[in-house]
């Protein structure tokens, strides 16, 4: 390492570094931003709901008022840059929470004049403002609907956190704030949606989440259906092997709590009427590529390597033998055909597996069987500089139980 890369990478800047972005690039960026904004809005809504849950849960534990009190939801503001559609969703969720949690001792009152712009003329002149900003005018007009307090909810995106600032203001001329609370969350925290009438504290929600994580069992039983296709022989006279269909099952062990590494031991069987019967024992180890822990919500991609012992019995095994198998030989050695041949060899698969929810998976693999290097009926799918030959290409579907 260069000891002072910090200094050495510094270079005087040319004016192009601050040059304006070309209109075409800016247009493309705008389109991309619009797409991202829609995606972010969805995530943000869940975060906002979580914060509202926490706010209302807090009020159920420590109510702001001693008696049931009518309040007006005066204003909901969303992060700068987002539209009013999100405000409507938040308003609905908040109303739902308050209705389902009477222990908050809040009753939402209907007050259309509170949020409307009203004009009030008095001794000090004419004032144009929202109703909640001039309660004396509302009171005079009888527009408060019995509510003497207003709730304001303000959401803002501050870096990677969404911040909720809630305040309750007494609707008297001085507009004193009688309750204020700030709640913040991080966008990386998973949203924990709960039903409105079963709110939980943040600590309880965390425990729920941890329980869900730990609930990912260490042992699973995979059932695999695999197809193995062997390479086309270079000798066109030789009979090529047909694809083999395997059914495998065994046990899969999570080697780490996070299932970043897993190991599988399985046994398999293949059968084709009048052609072959085969057995296989396989061990493989898998490494998670998409993250350091298996995800509860997204597909996981694993890479795996392993070792197998395959034994094939029956006429189908002839393709694995070290002699050229062509139609002329077959016809000339009909008596030998009566003795069912067998072939046993080792194979080493390497592949990728996509797992969804640790329940279903699909994988593709290449398999090297060094013992088949001299089998004239087996070609190679991939030859790595003559050092490593992959004779088999395969695909699997896995169901886990």
């Amino acid at each position: 390492m260069r000891p002072a890369l910090l200094a050495l990478t510094l270079a005087l800047l040319s004016s192009s570094s601050w040059a304006a972005v070309s209109p075409e690039v800016a247009e493309a960026q705008r389109a991309q931003l619009e797409k991202l904004r829609a995606e972010v809005a969805g995530q943000l809504q869940l975060q906002a709901y979580d914060l509202l849950d926490e706010l209302v849960y807090g009020w159920t534990r420590q109510p702001v008022f001693e008696l049931e009190t009518p309040v007006v939801l005066a204003d909901v503001t969303v992060p700068v840059g987002f539209g009013s559609g999100m405000a409507a969703l938040i308003e609905n969720h908040f109303a739902n929470l308050v209705v389902k949690n009477p222990r908050t001792r809040l009753t939402l009152a209907h007050c259309p004049q509170c949020t409307a712009v009203v004009v009030h003329s008095g001794a000090k002149g004419t004032i144009v403002a929202r109703g909640v900003d001039q309660p004396e005018a509302l009171a005079a007009a009888g527009g408060l609907s019995g509510a003497r307090h207003a709730i304001f909810l303000d959401f803002e995106a501050e870096g990677s956190a969404l911040v909720l600032r809630a305040r309750i203001t007494s609707l008297e001329p001085a507009l004193p704030i009688i309750h204020a609370r700030t709640l913040a969350t991080s966008t990386s925290a998973p949203a924990l949606l709960r039903t409105g009438d079963q709110l939980k504290s943040a600590a309880e929600a965390r425990k729920e989440y941890l329980d869900a994580l730990q609930g990912r069992g260490v042992l699973t039983v995979p059932l695999r259906i695999a197809v193995r296709s062997y390479g086309t022989p270079s000798n066109s006279a030789a009979v090529a092997a047909i694809p083999f269909i395997w059914l495998q099952t065994g046990i899969e062990v999570g080697l780490t709590q996070a299932r970043a590494w897993t190991g599988t031991f399985s046994a398999g069987v293949t059968w084709m009427p009048q052609l072959h019967t085969g057995f296989m024992a396989q061990a493989r180890i898998s490494r998670l590529l998409t993250g350091s822990v298996a995800s509860l919500t997204r597909p996981d991609l694993y890479a795996f390597v392993g070792g197998s012992v395959i034994s094939i019995h029956g006429q189908g095994a002839r393709v694995f033998q070290n002699q050229v198998l062509n139609l002329a030989d077959l016809l000339a050695n009909i008596p030998q055909l009566a003795v069912p041949p067998q072939a046993t060899f080792a194979a080493f698969p390497i592949g990728l597996e996509l797992r969804v929810g640790n329940r279903i998976g699909a994988s593709v693999f290449l398999e090297s069987a060094p013992a088949l290097d001299n089998a004239p009926s087996i070609g190679t799918h991939l030859d790595l500089l003559g050092l490593l030959k992959f004779h088999t290409m395969g695909a699997e579907v896995t169901f886990c139980f």
């Binding site: 960026q29 931003l33 991202l36 904004r37 972010v40 943000l44 503001t77 992060p79 700068v80 840059g81 900003d133 304001f152 303000d154 803002e156 995106a157 501050e158 870096g159 990677s160 956190a161 969404l162 911040v163 600032r165 809630a166 305040r167 203001t169 001329p173 001085a174 507009l175 004193p176 704030i177 309750h179 204020a180 609370r181 700030t182 913040a184 991080s186 966008t187 990386s188 998973p190 989440y209 941890l210 994580l213 780490t256 709590q257 996070a258 970043a260 590529l289 998409t290 993250g291 350091s292 822990v293 995800s295 509860l296 991939l382 030859d383 790595l384 500089l385």
Partner: protein, 213 residues
């Protein structure tokens, strides 16, 4: 062709074998990496913060300092909001917290606090003033949602003045017009220069203006 394939396969495990590595490369481009805020923390701490993402350090390695690079994606990507608004809003909690702390220390007693923000974009100004009011209220201050207003003529005159003169004069006018009384404190939060990315604050008490920050 196969040699070329081998060549690429050899590169993959290292260069792109960590798709969860946030550094620019095959899986992430530079602009995506710039939307992350990252810090290095111990693996134990990272596990506590993100139990679903980062496994606990193995017990046999507990004594060794194992670190994790913890990255969180900013909600608003680069370019989604005007740059100055983004910087101001991203640090709103910190800046407003500092301002409220200093103001509280200078305005003791049973004062009624009024807060207003002076920022070119009204929606950002509203965010700043709401944040400051709530911060003061959470510190136990008596805070009002009411904003003192001046006469239209005063506003017209003040609007033509430089900040160094406008705010002290506005404070005097608030007091003279009885928009603020002896028991009232007015906290003004503002931007002085359009090229800066920080908020300043001043306190108006008994008609006297004092710059805080």
């Amino acid at each position: 062709m196969e040699t070329l394939l081998v060549f690429f396969l050899v590169q993959l495990p290292l260069f792109s074998g960590h798709p969860y590595d946030p550094a620019p490369g095959l899986w992430h481009d530079k602009s995506e990496a710039r939307n992350l805020d990252c810090s290095r923390v111990s693996q134990q701490r990272a596990h506590e913060l993100h139990p679903g993402e980062i496994p606990a350090p193995p017990p046999r390695l507990a004594n060794q300092s194992s670190e994790a690079l913890l990255c969180t994606r900013r909600i608003m990507r680069n370019g989604e909001r005007p740059e100055r608004d983004e910087v101001i809003l991203a640090s709103l909690r910190e800046s407003v917290g500092e301002i409220a702390e200093v103001a509280s220390a200078l305005g003791p007693g049973k004062l009624n606090w009024h807060v207003d923000a002076f920022y070119p974009q009204p929606e950002v100004a509203a965010k700043i003033s709401v944040a400051a009011r709530i911060e003061l209220a959470e510190q136990g201050r008596r805070v009002s949602d009411k904003v003192p207003v001046l006469a239209a003529g005063d506003i017209a005159v003040l609007g033509r003045m430089a900040p160094k003169d406008a705010y002290p004069l506005a404070c005097k006018r608030y007091f003279a017009q009885r928009a603020l009384g002896e028991n009232d404190a007015f906290l003004g939060i503002m931007l002085i220069d359009e090229r800066e990315t920080q908020l300043h604050a001043g306190l108006c008490l008994n008609g006297e203006w004092r710059w805080l920050r």
